[in-house]
Structures are given as C-alpha cells and as structure tokens.
C-alpha cells in the first residue's frame, strides 16, 4: 500500500526541470499507448518521408499520448507548445530580449525544435492567432525552412525535424478554423474515443489497482455521457476524464463521487446537464 500522499510515480526517473528541447526518450520505457487503428504505422510512414502530421480528434482521446509514444519509438525529442489565443509568432519563433545594455535574440520553442531535429507539437493550433499559424507554412512543404524575420535570417530544418499539429474539429470551429491552405499541408490522422474494449484496457493499464468491473462501468458511463454531446456538452467525457475518475476510485473515493469530480464537474456548469450526467453515473454505480 502506497503512502497516501506519495505522488503516483515517485521513482525520480524523470527530470523535473529540463530545457525546452528535452532529451529523446525521457523515460526508460515507452509511454503506454493502445492503438485504435493503423495510426502507428501511418505516423511511421509520414515520419520516414518527413511529412507534417495533423492529429484530429476530441480533447482527451489520446492525441498527446500517441505522440509521446511515437516520439519515444522514433527516438526523437518532443517539443510541445500549447497554443492559446494570445500566442504570437514571436512566442513560437523567438524574440529579442534585453540583457544588460544590449539586445539578445532568443530562439522560441519552434526554432529550437527546428534546429535540434525534434518533433515539434503545436497543440490546439486553432487557438493561436492566424499570423502565427502562417509562419509554419514554409516549414511544412519541401522547403523545410523557418524564416526569422526579425533577425533577417532563415533556419533550415534539421533533417530529423517533424512538425505535428493537433486540431479539434468540434471545438469552436464556427469562429476559428484553420485556413484551407494550412490544412492541406498535413497528413491527417483522425482520432476518436477508443472502442469499448480498448478503452477498458486503457483504464486498467493506466490505473493500477482498478478492477475490470469498475473499468467496464466507467466505459459504459462514458458511452452514455457522450450521447449528450449536442445537449450543451461542448466537450464530451474523455478517456482522460475516465482515467482521472478511475484514479480517484483507486485512491479510495466512492465511485459516484469520483465520477462527479472527474467526469461531471469539470465539463459543465449547466445544472440540468450535470444532473443528467449524475443520473448516468448512478445507473452504473451505487
């Protein structure tokens, strides 16, 4: 039995603080990933040809984990940039900083990744401002170059460099969407929530100590909850949320409560929707 306040992975194998470009294979074993289809093979093929990849799919269905898994297998460092609406091209490419009495150029994470031959993952790229999405264009075609306008220079990508973006089609796409000219530069991989069987395996694997029965119930809850997508639920119950719920159960919380805090409360403030979700939970656990 673990000490209740121990963190889940207390082995100390991971670096707590590292450079923006981390070492390749930061962990001893490959991050756990359960393939949904042929995505592993497709990604490998794309990487062999150094074609940029777009991961499409709802939040929490395993896009990031997939990439971590692939980066480990391909033995490349993974640089992740979470995009947000204030993300400017400077945040990606780099900027001048003042040091002492002079200005110093500092590479942004994208530039660092380009130079180091890492896999650069721009997570939720639609969130970024359009001007920052355009700068990736020359990187994504045969040129594989990144212009640094402010310094008047251009960086040619390391031969191992690969650009990956993620893109959540259901998420605020009315107002924000990638330009078609951006989209067509990528190999598109569609992700969805894993099949029931797979999702159960994921839960059992991710959360040691979770019994198969609870896993099955959690997965069944998620199926039902996902059917409420068009009823005010912007983000449906994700595999990640299920893993959280499973973790809370394995930490000793009653199942209904665990689901409430991990599955219901985070995704909605809508009282009726929350009540409906709770009913679904209660129909499985009591």
């Amino acid at each position: 039995m673990n000490n209740p306040i121990d963190p889940p992975h207390a082995n100390g194998s991971e670096q707590r603080d590292h450079d923006i470009v981390p070492p390749a294979r930061p962990t001893a074993t490959a991050p756990y990933y359960e393939a949904q289809g042929r995505e592993v093979e497709i990604f490998e093929a794309a990487y062999r040809k150094r074609l940029p990849v777009m991961l499409k799919g709802p939040t929490g269905c395993g896009k990031t984990r997939f990439l971590e898994h692939m980066a480990w297998h391909l033995n490349r460092p993974l640089v992740t940039v979470s995009c947000h609406e204030d993300l400017t091209s400077s945040d990606l490419v780099g900027r001048f900083l003042l040091e002492g009495n002079e200005t110093v150029w500092q590479d942004g994470p994208l530039t660092r990744a380009v130079k180091a031959g890492a896999i650069c993952y721009l997570d939720e790229i639609v969130e970024a401002r359009t001007d920052s999405t355009v700068i990736i264009h020359p990187l994504t075609d045969h040129r594989r170059r990144l212009p640094l306008e402010k310094t008047g220079r251009e960086v040619t990508a390391h031969e191992d460099f690969l650009l990956v973006i993620s893109y959540n089609p259901g998420y605020q796409t009315v107002l924000k969407d990638l330009k078609p000219s951006t989209k067509q530069r990528f190999i598109g991989l569609n992700f969805d929530f894993p099949a029931e069987e797979t999702e159960r395996r994921i839960l059992v694997n991710e959360v040691p100590g979770l019994d198969a029965d609870s896993a099955a119930r959690l997965v069944s809850i998620a199926r039902k909850a996902r059917s409420l997508k068009d009823h005010g639920l912007d983000e449906v119950t994700s595999t990640r949320a299920l893993v959280y719920a499973a973790n809370m159960i394995s930490a000793g919380l009653p199942a209904v409560e665990a689901c409430q805090v991990a599955i219901i409360n985070p995704v909605t403030d809508d009282i009726e929707l929350a009540a409906a979700l709770l009913e679904i939970v209660r129909a499985h656990f009591e």
Binding site: T88, S89, S90, F96, L98, N101, T103, K150, L175, R217, S220, K224, A225, S227, L228, H231, E272, L273, A275, A276, E279, I280, R282, A283, H284, F285, E286
Partner: protein, 860 residues
C-alpha cells in the same frame, strides 16, 4: 282537525287540553292562510310534539310566519323538520334561527339551503358548531343576499373540510375581505376556494385569493373567471403550487436522460393530471411520455420516465407483436400506427377477471420492460426495488399486487424471493432477451388461475397496485408504434419504416383522438371491471388539456398569427418565479410616418452633424498598436530607449518595452429598447410638444449616430396589457439596414397601453442570441415606472420583477442601462437598475442629443 292529532297524542305523555286547543287553533289559522302550509305542517308536526306543546306552538307560529314570508321557505322548513328534530334533539334553537331569515328579504333560497344542511350541521359540528355555522351565514345574508344563499346552499361537509368550525372560518375570513374590498360575491369565491383547499390545503387559499384580487382589479370579468377556476391562469397557478418534482420544468434534464439511454428522446408532455384525480402516473400515448405536473420526487420522475419510455422502446405498443398477439387469439383486429389500440378484444375473454388480469398483465409487462431497461441502465431494477421498499405498503386489495411486483423485482435481481415454482418459471421467460409483449400476455394468462389475487374494487385499488415509477399500461388511449417488436428486430425496422411512419402519423393524429375517446370508454365499461374503466375514463378526458398552452388571447389590432413566448415573472410576495407567466409576442409596428421622420431629421440636423463629427474623431481607423507592453510582437523603440536610459541612470524601470498590434477588443452590440406606453403621448412641460416627438427624435438620432459608429445595434419598443399580452415591436434588427422604412417607422412611433418592463427586458436579452460581440448593452428608454393593468396597484410587484430581469440580463452577459425622463425616477430606479446604471434626464428636450452621447460614453 282533531283526528289528525290523535295518534300523536298517544305518543306524548300528558295532554294539556288548553294547549291542544291552542294547537288546533294555530293549525286552523295556518289552514286559513294556505292549504299547502296547513298540510305540510300537519305532516311535520308529530316529531315536534314530542318536545311538548309549548315547543310545538312556537314551531307552528314560526311555520306560519315563514309561509307568510315565502311559500317555498315555509315548505322547506316544514319538510326538513322531522329529520332535523331527530338529529338535533331539539326544536327551538334552529326554529328561532330559521326565523332570523325574515330579516333578509329574498332569502328563501338560503332558508332552503339552511334547512337542508341542518342535519349535517348537527351531526358534524354539534349544537355549538351549528350555532357558529349559522351565525357566519347570517352575517353573509346581512352583507349580500346571494352570498347568503351561496353559503347556506354549500354542503356543510365541504365548508368545514373535515376541520369543523375552524374550516368554515378559514374560508369565510378571506371571502369577507374580498367582499368588503372588492364586492366579490361569496358564490363566485366559494366553489373555487373549496377546490383549492381540497387540492392544496387551506394555506393555499390566501395566496390564491391575493392573486385573484390583482386580476379582479384589472378586469372584473377575468377576475371572476379566475375565482371560479374557469381561467387557465388560475388553474395553472394552483398546479404551480403543488409540491414535488416538476416534470415540465425538468423537461430538458429528463430528455437528456432519454437521449443518453435510448439514443433519442421522445417528447415529454403534460398529462393533464391534477391532484383530485388520484395518484400521479407517468404515462404515454404511444408517441410522447406524458408526465403529471408534479411527481413525489426526482427518483419517481427519473424511474417513471425511464420506465414509460422503456415501454415505447421495447415494444409494448409496437404494431408487430400486437398483431401476433391478436392473431394468436384468433382475433381480427386492425392494428396500425394511426389508431389507438383497443385492448378490449384481448381482455374480454377474462370476463369477471378482467380487473385482475389487467393488473397481472401490467405487472408482467412491466417486469419485462424494466429488465430490458436494466440491460442499458444497470442499477435500474435495484433503484426501483429500493424506491418501492421506501414507500409504505398499500392497504387492501392493492397490497397483494404490490407485493407480487416487489417479489418479481427481487427475482429479476437474482435475490431471494418467495415466488412459487410456476410463477418463477413464468417470470423467467420475461427476462429472456427475446421476450415481447406477447410473452407478457401469455405468462399473465397462464399464471392468473393459480394466483390467489383479489379483485380490484375501486379505482384506488387499481392505482395503488403499481410500484412507484410504473403505471397502468392500458389506462390511456395509446397509438401503436411502427418499429420495435423486439430488440433484435428493431434496428432493421427502424431504418425502413421510420420515415414513412412519421409522415402518416401526423396527418391522422387529431381525428383519431376524437374518434376513439368515447368509443373506448364504453367498451371499457362493458368489460366488467368497472373500477378500472372508471379510472381510465377519468384520465381520458384530461389528456386534451396541455398546460403549456397559452391562455385565450384578446386580439390586438395588429392581428396576425403571432408567436407567443412565455417568460417567468418574479413574485416578491412568494419569493419565487411564476413559471411561464408573462407572454411576449413580437410584432411589427403598422404605423409609419416618413414625413415626420424627415421633419425630425431636418430639425435636428445641426445636432446630428455635431454628433457625427465627434464620433469620427473618436473612431479608431486602424488597429492602434498597444505600446509599452510587458510582452509583444516588436520592441517599442521609444519605450526601449527610455528603459535603457533609466537603467543607465541607475534606476530600475519596468521592462515595458514591447508593442503589440492587437486592437483592444471593444466590440459592443446595443439594443435600444423604447417604452411605448400611453404615457409618452402626454404633452411635456417645457413646451416642446408631446413627449413622443422627443422619443422619435431620440431614436432617430441614435440610429443615425450608430450608423456612423459602426457597432451592431437594434431598436425595439414595447408595451403591454396584462401579463399575457406583452408586445415587443421590432423596429430594427441587428442585421437589418437602417433605411427609409425604418426611419418612417420611427417617425410613426406612438404610445399605447402599459409598461411591463421585466418581460420586455427578458425578451430583449433573448434577442441578443446569436450576437457574438463580447459586450452587449441594453439601453432602456423610459418615461416612467414599470406598471401594468393587472398589477393590482401593487407597484412593488413589477418593480421587483424588473429588478430580477435586470439581474438575469447581467447574468446572461447583457448590461442594461436605463435612460428616463421621469424626474421622479430617483425614487425607484436605484433599486431596479442599481447605482450608476441609469440616468435621469431632467431636460426632456436634450434627449435626442444626449442619447448617442450616453452610448458613446458607455461603450468606452
């Protein structure tokens, strides 16, 4: 004469010859007055004589006076005498009471009622209570003859409502207040009040009456209809007061559940139930789930809706299995999805046992369906069982059925059960995945003879036999559904048939409802189980009313098929919302006046020019870079130089050396909502004509300025008459160009009716839907306080409602701001809109120039 007295003489102990003479004389006098009177008195006299001659004499004298007063009164008095005397064990007290009616001309009907009620009054209230009952009635006779009639003609049982004299006083007190303040006759008040008390207890009478007074003040006719419970609003309000879980208000929640479990949600409609109809059930008409206004609690509702939708889902009313069922019994019944299913041929074979069979059939079918539901919602059976265990076991006949149903649940759950081998085998068949309603029928038929179940005698027996969440499956007219016969067939059938089936249903549905209603009720009666039939018939009639529907509508001059939207209204006296209380219709203003618009434009041309210039100078022509930022796209050279200099000078400046090209986001959308009530037609004090001219000019200049500013804006006006007639005039929508037509409409603005501001604000907020600007402003242009015809003179009522509407608007991301020309507005606007959210213009003439200015200041 004397012969007539003889047998009675024998009954009394001693005879005083003098008294006998007096009696004879009195009777003779009566005979001279009227033959009828004499005859009636003679018949009634014997039981009175028991109390002695003096009593009899006084009684005879009273009888004579009453006959003199009114023939019918006298007759009623004499006729009731024997019974009353027997129960009251006295004569004089009530005889003297009867004489008091002589003080009230025209009260013969009251005497009739009084005499008729006396027996009950003595038995239920006792002599003391009877006195009080009569005294209250006499007070009413004194107030108003017809009210006195109504009082004495209302059965004492009803008046007292099992509470004795206090029950009567409870009713009389508010009635008295209503009569003295509003001249509301007791006859109008009483029937409704009695029903209110029967439904909701006496505590509900006062609020119900209070609201009624509001309506009555506004409109006598509507008010009286309200008290007679003839108006929809009155009935709805009552049902609103019922405790429990309200299905209609939780419709979205329940539908989401259905979507989650069954992949699709059917409609959830009101079943038209009211508490005097017995137990509340969730039912279905084969298409929608019909839920009562209120259910005991949430668990009942969730399980009930799930269960009934389960019947639809798992084919209880599906065409295919029903055809099989009828065919197997050799019955040639036409089952289509357009007609209500007639179960009569199926159950006719059971004769006297129909009542038992129906309950057992339901029990079996419910078990099958609930088990199928549990395949999707695993804890369903357990929850049903738990809820059933929580409730008290019903008494009498229902108990055996209830117990069997509970046992069947335990059996399905795999727990210990007390079922016989035969029953267990039957039930086991129903739990198989391919079981259908046909199996339920067969199992019920085969088990019926072996089970010692009692016959249901009353509707209550039937109603109480069901576990919570379940309901009579055959109780209502149900239309068969194309589609699921059994789970396995479902997917194929759905694809091939759903499209055509839907089209057909709609066409026929209405006529079918009318046709099948009465016919089915008759068939039910002949079926033998009168109790069951009665309960079915009871409920049948109510299925037509839908409480969600709008009340009858006084037509307004604009006419046309308006779409009415209901909004809640806040009642501070009850501290809660009245659901769907204020009804708003969007309308188009018919009047327009292009000449007036032109005149106003010319007159205010100077002001407008000035405004436009001011706007232009404020308008950002291109994205202004934000300088001196902590972070940004480029270095702000100026700031950098300053930073470096300061550093060199030995200070430690903040490193605000970046600039950013982002525009500060100040997208604003605004709605100008003008109060178009009658009061704007008044002439203003400062000699500038009528207020409406200023309003027109203000709206016009506002629109012209907005065109210059470029922010999305809309213009609307509102007025109201009663809570169910709030008009919202769309003058210009957000996406509509400001053209001459709109100008002309503004030029033709005029005032009418009253100011139900809260409803208008709620609708204006609703109209903001689809406007994506981050800031949304609602500019309210008003000239007075919120008021309407039906607020009963209680100003605070609409004030409080408007305050709540403002609060709701803010929560919805719309910021209301009120501009008023009412110089007294300082008395109420701070409470409604809050400090700083309103402006009082003391110079009305300044409105046209001020309105755009205020907006520009607000949007900054």
């Amino acid at each position: 004469m004397s012969e007539a007295l003889e047998p009675k003489d024998g009954a009394s102990t001693d005879i005083d010859p003098d008294a006998a003479g007096e009696l004879a004389a009195a009777l003779e006098a009566l005979a001279r007055d009227s033959f009828v009177a004499h005859h009636a008195a003679q018949i009634a006299l014997p039981p009175v004589l028991v109390y002695g001659d003096a009593v009899a004499l006084e009684w005879l004298a009273a009888c004579r006076r009453l006959f003199e007063f009114d023939r019918d009164a006298g007759r009623a008095f004499a006729r009731a005498t024997p019974d009353v005397a027997a129960v009251a064990k006295s004569v004089l007290p009530w005889t003297r009471q009867a004489l008091r009616f002589l003080d009230y001309p025209g009260s013969w009907k009251a005497i009739d009622g009084f005499m008729g009620n006396l027996v009950n009054a003595y038995t239920t209230l006792g002599p003391v209570g009877e006195m009080r009952w009569a005294d209250i009635g006499f007070a009413w006779c004194g107030r108003h003859t017809d009210s006195g009639n109504a009082y004495f003609n209302t059965p004492v049982h009803d008046l007292a409502g099992r509470l004795g004299v206090p029950g009567i006083e409870q009713l009389s007190a508010p009635a008295e207040a209503l009569f003295t303040t509003r001249r509301l006759a007791l006859g109008t008040f009483l029937p409704g009040a009695l029903r209110v008390r029967a439904l909701l207890g006496h505590g509900a009478i006062a609020p119900w009456a209070r609201r009624g007074i509001d309506v009555l003040t506004a409109d006598r006719f509507r008010g009286e209809a309200y008290f007679r419970l003839e108006s929809d609003e009155s009935l709805r309000l009552l049902l609103d007061d019922l405790p429990g879980f309200r299905a209609q208000q939780n419709e979205r929640f329940l539908k989401m559940l259905l979507t989650a479990w069954y992949g699709e949600a059917c409609d959830i409609q009101d079943s038209g139930w009211s508490p005097d109809k017995g137990r509340a059930f969730v039912e279905t008409d084969g298409r929608a789930v019909l839920a009562p206004v209120t259910l005991p609690d949430r668990e009942h509702a969730v399980l009930g809706v799930l269960h009934v939708a389960g019947h639809l889902q798992f084919g209880t009313y599906a065409v295919a299995p029903l055809k099989v069922l009828f065919a197997q019994l050799g019955l040639d019944a036409e089952i289509t999805d357009a007609r209500a299913i007639s179960w009569e041929p199926l159950i006719a074979q059971f004769g006297d046992d129909t009542g038992r069979f129906k309950l057992l059939f339901d029990l079996c079918e419910d078990l099958r369906v609930d088990h199928a539901i549990a395949m999707i919602a695993p804890t369903h059976l357990r929850r049903l069982a738990r809820l059933a265990a929580l409730l008290p076991m019903p008494d009498g006949v229902a108990r055996d059925y209830y117990r069997l149903a509970s046992a069947s649940l335990q059996f399905a759950l795999g727990g210990a059960h007390s079922l016989s081998q035969e029953v267990a085998t039957g039930f086991a068949r129903l739990l198989e995945p391919d079981a259908t309603v046909v199996d339920a029928f067969r199992v019920a038929r085969s088990l019926l003879p072996g089970l010692d179940l009692p016959k249901p005698q009353t509707p209550e027996d039937v109603q109480n036999a069901y576990l919570p969440g379940r309901s009579p499956n055959l109780g209502r007219d149900v239309k068969a559904a194309q589609g699921p016969g059994s789970q396995s067939e479902r997917s194929e059938q759905k694809e091939s048939q759903s499209g055509e089936a839907e089209g057909e249903q709609d066409e026929d549905s209405e006529t079918v409802e009318q046709e099948t209603g009465p016919q089915d009720a008759e068939a039910d009666d002949s079926g033998g189980a009168a109790a069951h039939a009665q309960s079915a018939a009871n409920r049948k009639g109510t299925g037509q009313t839908r409480t969600g529907e709008r009340p009858a509508q006084p037509q307004t001059k604009t006419g046309g098929p308006d779409r009415w939207l209901p909004y809640p209204e806040w009642d501070y006296r009850e501290n809660r919302y009245k659901i769907d209380w204020a009804w708003v219709a969007e309308k188009v203003l018919a009047e327009s006046n292009p000449q007036e618009a032109q005149r106003l434009a010319d007159r205010h041309a100077g002001t407008l020019k000035r405004l436009k210039k001011a706007i232009q100078s404020q308008k950002p022509t291109r994205p202004a870079p934000l300088t001196r930022q902590m972070d940004g796209d480029d270095l702000d050279l100026e700031a950098t130089v300053r930073y470096v200099t300061e550093r060199i000078a030995g200070r430690s400046p903040e490193a605000r050396v970046y600039k950013r090209r982002a525009i500060r986001n100040r997208d604003v959308a605004v709605t100008l909502l003008a109060d178009l009530s009658t009061s704007i037609m008044q002439t203003v004090a400062d000699g500038n004509g009528r207020l409406v001219d200023t309003v027109r000019a203000g709206v016009l200049l506002f629109a012209e300025s907005m065109e210059e500013v470029g922010d999305p804006y809309s213009i609307a006006g509102f007025c109201s008459k009663y809570r169910d007639n709030v008009n919202y005039y769309r003058i210009k929508d957000f996406d509509q160009p400001f053209d001459d037509r709109v100008r002309a409409t503004v030029g033709g603005l005029s005032g009418r009716l009253a100011t139900r501001m809260g409803a208008a604000i709620r609708h204006a907020v609703h109209r903001f839907e689809g406007v994506s600007t981050p800031r949304r402003l609602l500019l309210l242009l008003s000239d007075g306080r919120p008021e309407d015809y039906d607020d009963g003179g209680d100003r605070r009522y609409l004030h409080e409602d408007t305050r709540m509407a403002v609060k709701e608007a803010v929560n919805a991301g719309v910021h209301p701001f009120c501009i008023t020309v009412d110089t007294l507005a300082n008395q109420y606007l701070p409470q409604i809109f809050g400090r700083g959210h309103y402006l009082v213009l003391d110079q009305i003439g300044s409105l046209p120039a001020k309105l755009p200015e205020i907006y520009l200041r607000l949007r900054r």
